[in-house]
Amino acid sequence: MSKNPFPLSKDDLLIAYRMMKTIREFEERLHVDFGRGEIPGFVHLYAGEEASAVGIMMHLNDQDQIASNHRGHGHCIAKGVDVKEMMAEIYGKVSGSCRGKGGSMHIADLSKGMMGANGILGAGSPLACGAGLAAQKLGHNGIGMSFTGDGASNQGTFLESLNLAAVWNLPVIFVVENNGYAESTSVDWAVAVDSYVDRAAGFGLPGVTVDGTEFFAVYEAAGELIKRAREGGGPSLLECKMIRFFGHFEGDAQTYKAEGENEYNRKHHDCLKIFRAHVTKAGVLSDEELDAIDTQVLALIDAAVEEAISAPLPTADDLTTDVYVSY
């Protein structure tokens, strides 16, 4: 084994790979099970975008809070939410992260710094400002982080949050996960200012664009932004350009995409393959080590699905609880 050339220890590289693989297999499995009609409701999959969530979240701890969006499974897993509880939640079971009351679009675990996936696009940005404000006022060095797609970056809430964070100098980072499509609508058409760095500059914030399929590019850039925010350097914007392997939601025929686009991207822009190539070429991790993780992850997802299927359903009593702390 040669010297590790990467800015992460071997153990951390293994953790990062395991997280990315867990997200991938979680989503691939949901895709299949949704197709079989086993999952209720709306499901938006993160597959293809793993390097962004994991490259960023490797820098965060439980005190750092993230506000996610409808495509939140990857953020949840990378932020440490329990995978089995997530699966049970998506199946609507009482053992789920949210006791079956939230579902795919509302998974949260504040104790892990996951303020919630969110069905209202752009709504997370003000909440992340609140997390940054709390860190600032309570005097700990946590940060708030808002995850927005290219679509929701057109929401007033997002733009207002950029301004608020700038004037209050909040430790908040706005991540724009630009996968090129707002549901079915192209970012090239729907975003009038064509660069998110320009858009950030319009609010007086520094912005950075990175290749979101390159784990190490995301990791390094996010590390600098996060360090800056923790040290009082204020808010910034990180655009990760990435690829959405699936449609907007499950059941989307994706006819708006180019012919062969998904196949090409899976072949050439798969962040997991790219990561594997880097670490094995450098001789830091072996294919055997990574394959072993693959096997463990598949077993975890299988177990999560099995447990979710056999878990108890909520009862009528659950309908009216958890509305208020007291009423």
Binding site: G102, M115, N118, C129, A134, L138, G156, E160, V323, Y327
Partner: protein
């Protein structure tokens, strides 16, 4: 020790006492300090009507002016509430609900339920409500029904300085999101208010006037119109009970039922528009639960189904008057 205090000063005192007691209480809003970044005084306004004047001098940066950006800062207050602070956010006029309602009803109100009971959002959103300031259609509404409709939100609308102080202190201490509605036409109204800190529990209506012939249910400014009507009717020998709901969510229907069971007559007064109002809600509950106690059809006295007009003559017609309340009482007494 009690002394006379205005509604406005009672609100100020409640915030002051809670900020002193609990370092996690912060406050934000447009111009609540007033003048941040401007060339003049740093603490120029203390709120658009001066309600928070003087608090900045005592508590400094725990009071924050915001950009004119309700979505962002109401959302930030809500986010901060889930992260260990106990923020008070001022939405200057509840009429501005439209530009930040998502953060209130889709975010704050639903966190606890959506997250399976794992979130607490102790945020208080203070907002001015109601007419009489000649402020026209977008600064005068009584939008309490809209927010009361939403599970997960608590709604408070006091009628006097004593209640304002105790209920605001309770709102700040409460672990659920509370919308605290302040009737701008009551700011100058004075009653005895103790100096010491006290909290009034939610869901406990106040009997503002005891009576035996009819029950008038009201909240906010309408409590005063109802009481005025009751005093006038007393001269004619009609003895009305006036119930001040104080909090609309939770709502104290037991006190209303108890009163209606003894009087047999119900008049609901609401400054809101009539459809799906607090008045119609209370009436529906009474009708469903204690129908047999009713001696006459319940009466609703509300604003008309129109926006709030500007011209003083029209606005005076818009807001329910003591005469209208008295007429409604007489109508129930006739049967």
């Amino acid at each position: 020790m009690a002394r006379t205090l205005s509604f406005k000063d009672a609100v100020n005192e409640a915030i002051d006492q809670e900020m002193t007691r609990d370092p996690t209480v912060i406050m934000m809003g447009e111009d609540i300090v007033g003048g941040t970044g401007s060339p003049g005084e740093a603490d120029a306004w203390g709120g658009v009507l001066g309600v928070t004047k003087g608090l900045y001098a005592k508590h400094g940066d725990r009071l924050m002016d915001t950009p004119l950006s309700e979505s962002a800062y109401i959302g930030a207050a809500i986010g901060a509430a889930t992260c260990g602070l106990r923020p008070i956010a001022e939405l200057m006029f509840l009429d501005f609900l439209g530009v930040c309602f998502d953060q209130m009803y889709n975010q704050a109100a639903k966190f606890r339920y959506m997250f399976g009971g794992k979130a607490e959002t102790p945020v208080t959103i203070r907002a001015m409500v109601g007419g009489g300031f000649r402020a026209a259609a977008q600064h005068s509404q009584m939008l309490t029904p809209i927010i009361t409709h939403v599970p997960g939100l608590k709604v408070v609308c006091p009628s006097n300085a004593y209640d304002a102080k105790g209920l605001l202190i309770q709102s700040i201490r409460d672990n659920d999101p509370v919308i605290f509605c302040e009737h701008k036409n009551l700011y100058a109204h004075e009653v005895d208010v103790p100096e010491e800190s006290y909290a009034i529990p939610f869901g406990e209506a106040n009997i503002a006037r005891e009576g035996t012939d009819a029950t008038i249910v009201a909240y906010g400014l309408m409590v005063h119109r109802a009481t005025e009507a009751a005093e006038n009717l007393a001269k004619d020998g009609i003895d009305c009970e006036v119930i001040d709901l104080r909090t609309l969510s939770p709502i104290d229907m037991d006190t209303v039922y108890e009163s209606v069971e003894s009087t047999g007559r119900l008049i609901c007064v609401d400054e809101a528009n009539p459809r799906c109002s607090i008045a119609s809600d209370v009436t529906a509950s009474v009708t469903q639960e204690i129908f047999s106690s009713l001696k006459a059809a319940p009466q609703l006295v509300t604003a008309p189904h129109t926006p709030v007009p500007f011209s003083p003559v029209l606005e005076d017609l818009y807001i329910p008057s003591a005469e209208q309340v008295a007429d409604a009482v007489r109508k129930t007494m006739a049967t």
